[in-house]
């Protein structure tokens, strides 16, 4: 077996305690697996019950269809839409037949249920907390994503925002019985309601909130609010709105309201929708609020450089973005998605997450010729999803856009994006890479790699640079220095304290302009410069190490301002406790060999 392989067969066929430990500590299934497998289990269940297999007949005989449309309507909607919400994570969409919902009988008689049974938990969760739930973000995504899983008219709505939520009240016998403990978040685009994301706080599933949503009564609500403000209520027949003059409009009901409840009774504040409620936004183009700005540079018909900067902002946690982007064209004053080229296979977006550093700017190239082809001249914008992650599972996602213009193609610029960014561009464009990613990139590019104190790649690159310097020709070179923390060479306390900070990789960009040397360094995963200095000379120093050393020779290139400095002086400078001994220098290349 190879060194990095591990055989865990011993865990098979284990005792209950081992299984419980495994089950409690490690998630065996992803969310999308759960949705998919639940659907399959229901399918199996239904096939067995409908086939009427003898062994199951006993258990199904006590269940019958019990028509109680009152609160059941609400429950069935919730149940089916929860599944639709889950579908965003990759599972199939279920079309629920309401007739499948049944209420059982106890002792052969239908047992009337109290309203409390339907009200469920009355504990309200602040809607601000709900907004930070990952499932809310997924539900919202139903309105903005390409696949339009809820089949909402006019979707996707890339600019969709969410207005302040309301709650309905339950009305029976012309009385308000209780609040319906469910936040209804209106989704708004262009000032119009286009649907809802609902958060059910009544029946928590595994202590988790239930989310569902859809277009629902959004079109009717738009129509109703043209006449004035309404208070929302729900009865046995559905959901209604009541105006201040006590006239009632059916929003989601098959029959007209026939009771005599008044506006004054219904209006609880939290269920009042005014004509301008849709402008009270609680979740929307948050990327601006988070201080994220996108700028399109070097635009060609097939790509551009996207500059992303973050500055200030509110409620900024960990910001990141992925590889996904969307291009929209301005057409008749409306942003419309540019259609993909016909694809043989579905477009697969890679799953990396790039951290957006606070108070920093990063840039990267975006190419779309494989997806959209060459864009004709026009006004466009590119949209990136920005995620604000507070903690695992608690995040908000939103689009940030950068507008750009594609000029009439004169055929000269398109080639710019066809090549890989040079090492200098990686450095200067503040490309963010983890130490592992940066090391992998460095080995594939003309870069000097110093890994754990030794040059492991790019000696020829360095020699070429040094030749240019000797010939007094301007030149530049990129070096990367990779540092790992060796557990055995530090104290256990220090190791515990530092281990999560490693590996660290530094980019070093050294430029020679024919006269002086400019050196800049930064960590691969930060944009802030660690070093930004100018030196007059580049010294090549060689030393023979003591016999006890691991390597016999050390080869070092050092930037200095005094060409007469010696190896010993530099060593003393580094290790002396006297500040007067310090000689300003920067070691840019060090190799040890036998």
């Amino acid at each position: 077996m190879q060194k990095d392989e591990l055989d865990l067969d011993i865990l098979e066929n284990a005792d209950s305690r081992t299984i419980e430990t495994l089950s409690e500590r490690y998630s065996a299934l992803s969310d999308s697996d759960v949705s998919r497998l639940f659907a399959r289990s229901e399918e199996l269940f239904r096939s067995r019950t409908t086939e009427g297999r003898g062994e199951y007949s006993t258990s199904v005989s006590g269940v019958e269809i019990y028509h109680r449309p009152l609160w059941q309507k609400i429950l069935t909607a919730a149940a089916s839409m929860v599944l639709i919400c889950s579908a965003v994570a990759g599972a199939a969409i279920f079309c629920k037949n309401n007739s499948d919902y049944r209420i059982g009988k106890d002792g052969g008689e239908s047992s009337p249920r109290s309203i409390e049974d339907y009200i469920g938990s009355t504990e309200e969760i602040p809607y601000e907390t709900v907004l930070e739930n990952g499932k809310f973000a997924m539900s919202y995504d139903n309105f903005t994503c390409d696949s339009n899983p809820l089949q909402i008219s006019g979707a996707p709505y890339r600019d969709a925002v969410v207005a302040k939520p309301f709650k309905s009240v339950l009305v029976e016998d012309d009385k308000v019985v209780a609040p319906l403990n469910e936040w209804e978040f209106p989704v708004v685009s262009g000032g119009e309601y286009v649907g809802f994301v609902n958060c059910d706080m009544r029946f928590l599933m595994n202590q988790e909130l239930g989310f569902w949503g859809g277009q629902m009564f959004a079109p009717k609500l738009n129509e109703a609010l043209e006449k004035g403000s309404i208070a929302i209520f729900t009865t046995v027949d559905g959901t209604y709105g009541i105006y201040e003059d006590n006239t009632v409009v059916a929003l989601a009901a098959d029959v007209a309201y026939s009771g005599s409840i008044t506006f004054e009774q219904v209006d609880q504040g939290y269920n009042l929708l005014t004509t301008d409620s849709s402008s009270d936004i609680v979740y929307g183009p948050m990327s601006k609020e988070w201080g994220v700005t996108l700028k399109a540079l070097n635009v060609t018909p097939t790509g551009l450089t996207l500059e992303c900067s973050q500055s200030g902002g509110k409620k900024v946690h960990e910001l990141s973005t992925g590889s996904y982007f969307v291009i929209q064209k301005l057409s008749g004053g409306v942003w419309e998605d540019v259609e993909y080229l016909p694809q043989e296979y579905e477009i697969g977006w890679t799953s990396e997450a790039w951290i957006i550093q606070k108070e920093a700017t990063a840039a990267w190239n975006v190419e779309w010729d494989m997806i959209y082809g060459e864009l004709p001249a026009g006004e466009y914008r590119i949209g990136k999803k920005i995620m604000n992650l507070r903690e695992t599972g608690a995040f908000i996602e939103n689009y940030a856009f950068a507008e750009f213009t594609v000029q009439e193609d004169d055929g000269s610029a398109a080639a710019v994006c066809e090549r890989e960014p040079s090492p200098e561009e990686i450095f200067e464009n503040n490309k963010i890479l983890t130490a592992e990613e940066a090391l992998e990139w460095a080995y594939d590019n003309p870069v000097v790699v110093q890994d754990d104190g030794q040059i492991t790649s790019g000696r020829d690159v360095w020699d070429s640079f040094f030749d240019s310097v000797n010939a007094k020709k301007p030149a530049s070179v990129m070096c990367v220095y990779n540092y790992v923390l060796d557990e055995e060479s530090v104290s256990p306390e220090l190791y515990e304290e530092e281990k999560d900070l490693y590996p660290q990789l530094f980019f070093c960009l050294l430029r020679y302009d024919g006269e002086v040397f400019h050196v800049k360094m930064r960590k691969s995963d930060e944009t802030k410069l660690d070093t930004d200095e100018t030196y007059k000379y580049l010294l090549h120093l060689s030393a023979e190490n003591p016999d006890t050393a691991l390597y016999r020779y050390t080869d070092q290139y050092v930037l200095v301002n005094d060409p007469s400095v010696t190896w010993e002086q530099l060593q003393r400078s580094m290790f002396s406790s006297q500040s007067s001994d310090w000689i300003k220098h920067s070691t840019v290349y060090m190799d040890m060999y036998n």
């Binding site: 060194k3 065996a28 919902y101 249920r113």
Partner: protein, 187 residues
Amino acid sequence: MTHEEFRDKKKISSEQAHKELFEAYCGYVYTIVFNRLRSVAAREDIEECLCDVFADVYCYYDPGKNVSGDMSGFIGTIARRKAAALYKSIISGAETVSIDDESAQQLISEQDAEREAAANEQRRIILGKIAGLGEPDSTIIIQKYYYGRSAAEIAGMVKLTPENIRVRSGRAVKKLKEMLEKEDISL
């Protein structure tokens, strides 16, 4: 979820009750089934067995029965029996095996019991050491080397890139082996 909670929810909506039950116990059932079938069955078969267990639970469950308390014993029993039956059918090549077949229950001798006790102790040490790696490394190790998931799948679980997973898993294995060597366990 308790029997009472499931019974109450089932009265309102069967599917909602099933969904909540599934979400509460699918990890537990998958662990049982996977643990039994890991070496002999494909992932698709294991998943089908899991769904089969739940379909049985929904079918067998009698809301009229006056049982109370935690449902894990009831569900775990069905899961173990289903997994054992499938294991036997795969090993023997038989098409079907009754889950009520007594032979599906394994009988173990005294020596086997001693060996099993030692193995259980070793399992506990191994799981303890894996947990000692800390997150996300312990999850990476279990998902990669026990559940056989790809770096891309694990990346989605622990919010790292697949490249990170590959690098971290190599290091974590090395560290784990060193920890286990001190316990005289070699994997």
